[in-house]
Symmetry: C2
Subunit: 319 residues, 2 copies
Amino acid sequence: MARVLVALGGNAIQRAHDAGTWADATRQMRRTAPVLAAIVARGHELVVTHGNGPQVGDLLREAELGAREVPPPPMHVLDAESEGQIGYLIAQELSAALRTARVPRVVVPIVSRTEVARRDPAFRHPTKPVGRFYSAAEAARLRRTAGWTLREDAARGGWRRVVPSPRPRRWLEGDAVRAALDGRLGRSCVFVVTGGGGIPVVRGGGGRYEGVEAVIDKDRAAAVVAAQIGAATLAIVTDVPGAAVGYGTPRQRWLGRVDAAELRRYRRAGEFAEGSMGPKVTAGLEFLAAGGRYLVITDIPSLARGLAGRAGTRVGEPP
Amino acid sequence: MARVLVALGGNAIQRAHDAGTWADATRQMRRTAPVLAAIVARGHELVVTHGNGPQVGDLLREAELGAREVPPPPMHVLDAESEGQIGYLIAQELSAALRTARVPRVVVPIVSRTEVARRDPAFRHPTKPVGRFYSAAEAARLRRTAGWTLREDAARGGWRRVVPSPRPRRWLEGDAVRAALDGRLGRSCVFVVTGGGGIPVVRGGGGRYEGVEAVIDKDRAAAVVAAQIGAATLAIVTDVPGAAVGYGTPRQRWLGRVDAAELRRYRRAGEFAEGSMGPKVTAGLEFLAAGGRYLVITDIPSLARGLAGRAGTRVGEPP
């Protein structure tokens, strides 16, 4: 019996090559949910977090296209909307899968805010592309009128807005969920938290928080969540069976059981690409440094074996 | 010390004559939040629910305008998005107000689903207008292609989609929040639940729930929530200081302290308009019939006095 945090990548929820309809997302989540339910059936306490890249991208495009009739909301508000949307999707499918697995639980999605530092250097160097593609002329106009930073994506033929990706520091609802879990609610509930890394906020005057135009890496946020709820296990679920050295080259080798020092060494050697495996390994190392017992990075088909210490890139002993 | 459920009407969150920007909503919620914080400062356990009419209307318009690039999501998904958006707004402003009032709490918005009956007669008689206005030709096309029911709003010069408003039966996350409150989390948290009445779902095969194209009256849902969490007090917050007989006529008289039988009599006599005061009174009577101790219907300026039994239309004794 352990407290397990699973961080679901985008593909577990919505496949990149689907049209992005609700029916597509439902179908994909219906494939993922039984794998999560099996964790509960093995007696573990489950908490779920997830990405929101494609979903918030769609919300941003809708907001931009609807702007002639509806004032477009700031990006942190779209993050909040995506937490509602994806939290609902996970609740629907995971509740059903838990019932089928004969471990009924109430799935409780929580609209979550994540504090970032106002002086985080990321605010001076926006790097994360979001939303629609624009022509050079539109890009120039948006830079002037909306104050956006835009960057050309020559390969895909257009300009896109880029926003900062600051480091998550604290999940604001974390104490409440920790208290609920410690009060044994983990036996009757599965919480879904910090979707898309959480809504990014900075501390303002008088303890007020203000939303900011940024995106938070969901795996980095997962490391913060794991520490706040005292999770023994962090499972980072992605599209590949684990981390690899020499990824995509003839010398590619999947990493199985490793130790933190080894992972750190490979990361320093540049083995893990920024914007893909890099932040996952960094998040995993942060989780271990904060006292986490077992880290596994793997894909949905290997998750059950990964949690049992028999698949994926893993550090520590499964509790 | 009592468990108090406050149901916020649309105007407490976003004023009808504002442009509907995030800044407008923030400004309005910043006016409302201190009134809610004062309830906590008086020693009560607070749970908040709220409407979503204008917000889900905007999301629907964005979805319709963005349809050429992004597949428009079903309405129940937009309900989920509005729960994320408004839950975030309330969390931001209420957390700050609670801190200012020296009763810091974690404000926890929960993405909530509300079960309705598949055979609810409302599904055969859609009544609730939502989304954009269309021309007669567009309306005919949407009736054919999307299977919508549309109705002409002659006064406002156009056709609008109408959806069913079935009766809420059960709030699916209610047992979890009840357990959290009974486990004393109400002393450290304020839960925000069933926004917009909750995402409407019907029970499908194998205990699975399916989202449906409908809207749930948020006050009727509040009565269900109050019963599920065992709230002693239900405060229905609207734009007027209370219910009135002869509303809008020369014989108009605001109702103060009344009893349930009296309210029921006035309702039967048709004193409370459908789609405005009618469902609020019905919800209040349902709350009292289910064992609720104190009901008050009033506006934000009178809420504090209303909860103390000195303003608003009220039934029972304030606990």
